[in-house]
């Protein structure tokens, strides 16, 4: 636990820019502050610059411009082997000629730590690798190798631990288990973790704060809840979960302060969107709603759901996933919307394809995005 008297050792990136010699700009003037002790995720599709950012923090990539600080210490031009930072590499990069214990001891040995043997023992216990200590990396399973990579970095008690897609090589089941384990270890050791991933579920399960990155810039940053419920760009709306985006025209404002709302006309229906969920100044906008926030009812049945109602939608396909069902609905204005429904059994069965349904949503779940943005942004990565 950081003492109140000690200065905070937050990781701060200011105007961080990376341009490769071939002219490709991977990271564009990135500003980021990661509080000490937090679990931070950089989420984005491949090629968005998240790994380059991580490598610049590690010192494995030169910085074109901008600065990297840990607390007051400027590490922008520091050699990688002098930074208080360690990395868990995507393919683990374990030394094949060394045993597990020797791999883990590599860092402390280079730094001339006295009680390295005791520390190796402790960290192998924490990562449940005591029995593998004498083996070579090639003799271990993927999950075990992953834990060695983690132990080898953690033993140095870095101020910032960088994780580059650390679970990417594991199968789904192991990945889920390791997500919980990583989170647990982070809470136990209390270090700053910066986790790079393209897996939105992984980022959301583990991180306190997620930054969604796209084409070298951070599109939005916040808690997983904030990002999911109130995305600010079409990219975030599509990359993190799924979104229905419908064209609307701003017709006016009402209320003030916390109650302020924007009125949007959407094919004849007036939608009232809270001001803090409106992310455009223009007259036009994308009205966004998450698929599970769409409620459907057989046409004509009495509905007491509050919010906006639309009749005359047709179910054009349904896929049953067990816990839920995904419906594709054709709206009266011709657009197709996705709807996820929990299979709670209230209706006593699935809605048949071709059935006419009434659709409703609560207006407090709706968000308004800039119409100049691509409604399909972020879809290919999801």
């Amino acid at each position: 636990m950081p003492q109140a008297s000690e200065p905070r050792r937050d990781l701060r990136l200011k105007g961080l820019h990376k341009r490769y010699p071939n002219g490709y700009t991977a990271v564009k003037s990135l500003d980021l502050e990661i509080p000490q002790g937090s679990f931070f995720a950089l989420l984005g599709p491949s090629g968005c610059g998240k790994t380059t950012t991580l490598r610049m923090v590690a010192g494995l990539e030169d910085v074109t411009s901008g600065t990297i600080h840990i607390g007051d210490q400027d590490i922008t031009r520091e050699k990688p082997y002098r930074r208080p930072v360690n990395t868990v590499f995507q393919n683990y990069a374990l030394f094949p000629h060394l045993t597990i214990a020797e791999n883990v001891e590599f860092g402390p040995k280079r730094r001339g730590v006295k009680d390295s043997a005791a520390r190796v023992k402790a960290i192998l216990e924490l990562t449940e690798l005591t029995e593998q200590a004498g083996k070579r990396p090639a003799q271990l399973s993927g999950g075990q190798q992953q834990r060695v990579a983690l132990a080898r970095a953690l033993i140095n008690r870095p101020e910032v631990l960088l994780l580059d897609e650390p679970l990417g090589a594991l199968d789904l089941k192991l990945r889920r288990a390791m997500q919980l384990e990583l989170k647990h270890i982070q809470e136990e050791v209390g270090l700053t973790f910066v986790h790079v991933t393209h897996d939105q579920e992984e980022a959301m399960t583990m991180a306190d704060t997620v930054a969604v990155m796209n084409q070298g810039v951070i599109e939005q940053m916040g808690s997983p809840y904030e990002l999911y419920t109130n995305p600010r760009t079409t990219f975030v709306a599509n990359f993190l979960g799924r979104s229905n985006l419908i064209k609307g025209t701003v017709v006016g404002r009402e209320g003030s302060g916390a109650d302020a709302a924007v009125k949007v006309d959407m094919f004849g229906t007036l939608v009232s969107i809270q001001a803090d969920r409106v992310h455009t100044d223009s007259k036009e906008g994308w009205i966004g709603i998450r698929p599970e926030k769409l409620l459907i009812q057989p046409a004509g049945s009495q509905s007491d759901d509050p919010g906006n109602h639309f009749s005359d939608a047709v179910v054009i396909s349904s896929s049953y996933i067990g816990v839920s069902t995904e419906y594709v609905l054709k709206m009266p204005w011709g657009q197709e919307l996705i709807c996820f429904e929990q299979n709670r059994g209230v209706r006593g069965g699935l809605v048949q394809v071709g059935a006419h349904v009434d659709v409703s949503w609560r207006q407090e779940y709706v968000y308004l995005l800039d119409s100049s943005q691509d409604a399909e942004a972020g879809l290919e990565g999801a």
Binding site: Y81, T87, F89, A93, F95, P96, H97, F106
Partner: protein, 287 residues
């Protein structure tokens, strides 16, 4: 059932090993037995009328007693040439593996290119380069690096230089093969774990290239210590190696038993040295 089993039946393995075993038996085992028996025969015979196998161990004592300076000189020259090859070869193999980029293939071809001309011709051309009136000696004399009557040809320097030149590719190729396999991520990981570039090289790159180092030094040292062409063309009577002596005993001397004994001594010596070396390098799996 594999395809091989279908074609060759149950004893597929024997059929497949067969040709190579036959080849080795005919061209390695038989000559080896012939060499051993000759080395224990009475030197009173002649190459034309043959030698009587009299189990004359004395041949070995005499060969060793008369020619041990040649053996020592061979090992020293081959040792120096191997060390020079290792230093030159490692730098080049490292550059090809990690720094050459798109020039990698071109550089590898250049390393192998000398093989397209004969060993003999290449060594003879060194004779021209190092000649007393050649441009190298003239330049060095003009620069006063060498005395006016100094020479390069027919010196130990020329012999070792020739050996180094001729066996360098045998060092580079195994080194390159093992360096090229090293994941660049491992070197980054070493840096990330507080190893300076030099420490990272020693602890990761060098350690992982040891199979190449062992392979390369063996491929250089073994043929270099038995070589006689370099000493014959580039040396003088006082720089003769054991290979020259064996060759002389076989051809001009007509003394097959002593030549054979000297060959066996050289072989046993090298095998013993290789075994100690490989065990100490911790690369037994190479044997």
């Amino acid at each position: 059932m594999t395809t091989m089993q279908r074609v060759f039946g149950k004893n597929a393995a024997y059929w497949l090993i067969g040709p190579a075993a036959l080849w080795l038996g005919l061209f390695f085992l038989v000559p080896m037995l012939s060499l051993l028996t000759t080395s224990l025969s009475d030197p009173a015979g002649s190459p034309i009328y043959g030698y009587d196998l009299t189990w004359r161990v004395q041949n070995y004592v005499e060969a060793l007693g008369d020619y041990w300076p040649y053996l020592v000189r061979s090992l020293i020259y081959a040792g120096i040439a191997t060390a020079l090859c290792l230093v030159l070869g490692y730098v080049l193999a490292y550059a090809i593996a990690f720094k050459a980029g798109r020039w990698k293939t071109v550089m590898l071809v250049l390393v192998i290119a000398p093989f397209f001309t004969s060993f003999l011709v290449r060594t003879l051309s060194w004779k021209l380069i190092l000649a007393d009136n050649g441009w190298v000696v003239n330049t060095l004399q003009w620069l006063h690096v060498m005395s006016p009557d100094g020479r390069l040809l027919a010196t130990p320097f020329a012999v070792v230089a020739g050996l180094t030149y001729n066996f360098l590719p045998f060092m580079i190729l195994p080194l390159y093969a093992s360096l090229e396999k090293i994941e660049p991520h491992l070197i980054e990981a070493a840096q990330d774990l507080y190893a300076s570039p030099w420490k990272g090289f020693l602890n990761v790159t060098w350690k992982l290239s040891i199979p190449g180092v062992v392979g390369g030094t063996l491929l250089t040292f073994i043929p270099a210590s038995g070589d006689y062409i370099n000493a014959a063309f580039l040396g003088n009577p006082n720089t003769q190696m054991v290979g020259n002596k064996i060759q002389a005993l076989f051809t001009t001397g007509g003394d097959y038993p002593h030549a054979a004994a000297l060959s066996v001594i050289l072989m046993v010596l090298i095998v013993a040295m290789v075994m100690v070396y490989v065990r100490r390098a911790g690369t037994e799996e190479l044997l």
